[in-house]
Symmetry: C2
């Protein structure tokens, strides 16, 4: 079974939702037969590269709040994160374009290091004093995730590298009806939106598991094939 998770590094509910999904997955009997793929979604796709601002200022401007009110919003999210055992710093975080991080996550996927890189990027953005909008930080977490430094640098330097894959993920999210993230898709059959409780993810996995029997295709009559015993219809 395959679970695809659309998310953005800048999205706190994606950070929290990933932990909850993992808790839900751990309680699922067939967890060894679940493949998880992370897909790209930018919360702020129009943002220019290098245009980085404090998260609290961004929240205050977006919601028309005072800096103190915006900080309280962050403190609320932090308390939810802490409830999941996740570190979350409310001050000093910055917001920017996540396009390059998504491109790097596609490289990491090809190298079998996607989840390692994603976890490190979340930790850098939400828990540590490291800006994922600084290319040198990205290179360092890429290396920590097991990627080749020269290859990571080459991807970051070439803005077209994996750009089509990021755009394709985003187009697919829209086609699947996602209006926000995190967005979880089970075998392209069932969809769940938001940072749900862990139990909902377990139930979603169970529902998708039960519903995974293949349906026949209307037009198909029997056709020549080779059987598992090696016999080929002639």
């Amino acid at each position: 079974m395959r679970v695809e998770i659309w998310s953005d590094i800048a999205c706190p509910w994606c950070y929290i939702g990933k932990a909850r999904f993992e808790e839900g997955l751990a309680a699922f009997a067939h967890r060894d037969q679940v493949e998880v793929v992370y897909r790209s979604f930018e919360l702020d796709p129009g943002r220019a590269k290098g245009e980085v601002a404090p998260v609290v200022d961004m929240l205050a401007a977006k919601y028309g709040r005072t800096p103190a009110e915006a900080l309280a919003m962050e403190e609320h999210v932090a308390s939810v994160a802490h409830g999941e055992g996740l570190a979350y710093r409310v001050e000093g975080r910055v917001h920017g374009s996540t396009f390059d991080i998504h491109r790097l996550l596609h490289l990491a996927r090809e190298r079998g290091r996607q989840e390692a890189l994603l976890d490190l990027a979340y930790r850098a953005n939400f828990a540590e004093e490291r800006s994922v909008y600084d290319p040198e930080v990205l290179v360092r977490i890429a290396v920590e995730a097991g990627l080749d430094e020269a290859e990571a640098r080459a991807v970051l330097a070439d803005e077209t590298a994996y750009a089509d894959q990021v755009r394709a993920d985003e187009r697919e999210a829209a086609e699947l009806g996602a209006t926000g993230v995190p967005f979880f898709v089970f075998d392209r059959r069932y969809g769940v939106s938001g940072g749900q409780p862990a139990e909902v993810f377990t139930q979603a996995l169970e529902q998708a598991w039960k519903g995974r029997a293949l349906q026949p295709v209307a037009a198909a009559d029997p056709a020549p094939a080779c059987d598992a015993d090696g016999a080929c219809a002639v």
Copy 2:
């Protein structure tokens, strides 16, 4: 949309079915949004490595036919292949374990060269005077497919490399109800068995496309998420 195709290099209906699927895919309006993944299935999983025999002898023994009758069986398949524009040599072909080829196809998938390698392996086995059961031939077609020679050699030399992935594909085929190959699965929702006519594949793609709307998960109430305009529920 994602199509998974279980197949074996030794299977003539897989070779023919791949060409028919591609013809069906070419007639599908949303072909640019179709990802195709090839998965492993061995027709003869018990066969020892290096135990190679002429195909005509194998067919005669399996079906209790004379060599001339077995040759006629191959000639029939060849005529079907020719009808699809595929070269097919009836004499001189050999049969053996395809386990190493499947392992190499998994490496090729990680390197984005899976289909190139598969096409070259089919051509070597069915159309050319090259045995895919000869490791040196495998290395040469791997290089022709764009793989790194040293990496291909390392995979072939280490019998554990990608072995789990081959076994996992085969387990999954059984779980999905495949009793033979080629076996086509559309978005893990619809299944088609055998070397169907191209039109059946087009119809299967259309049926899967129409049926791809996601279903909600029973247990899920609205949960906090970040919207596409960048707003995060707090």
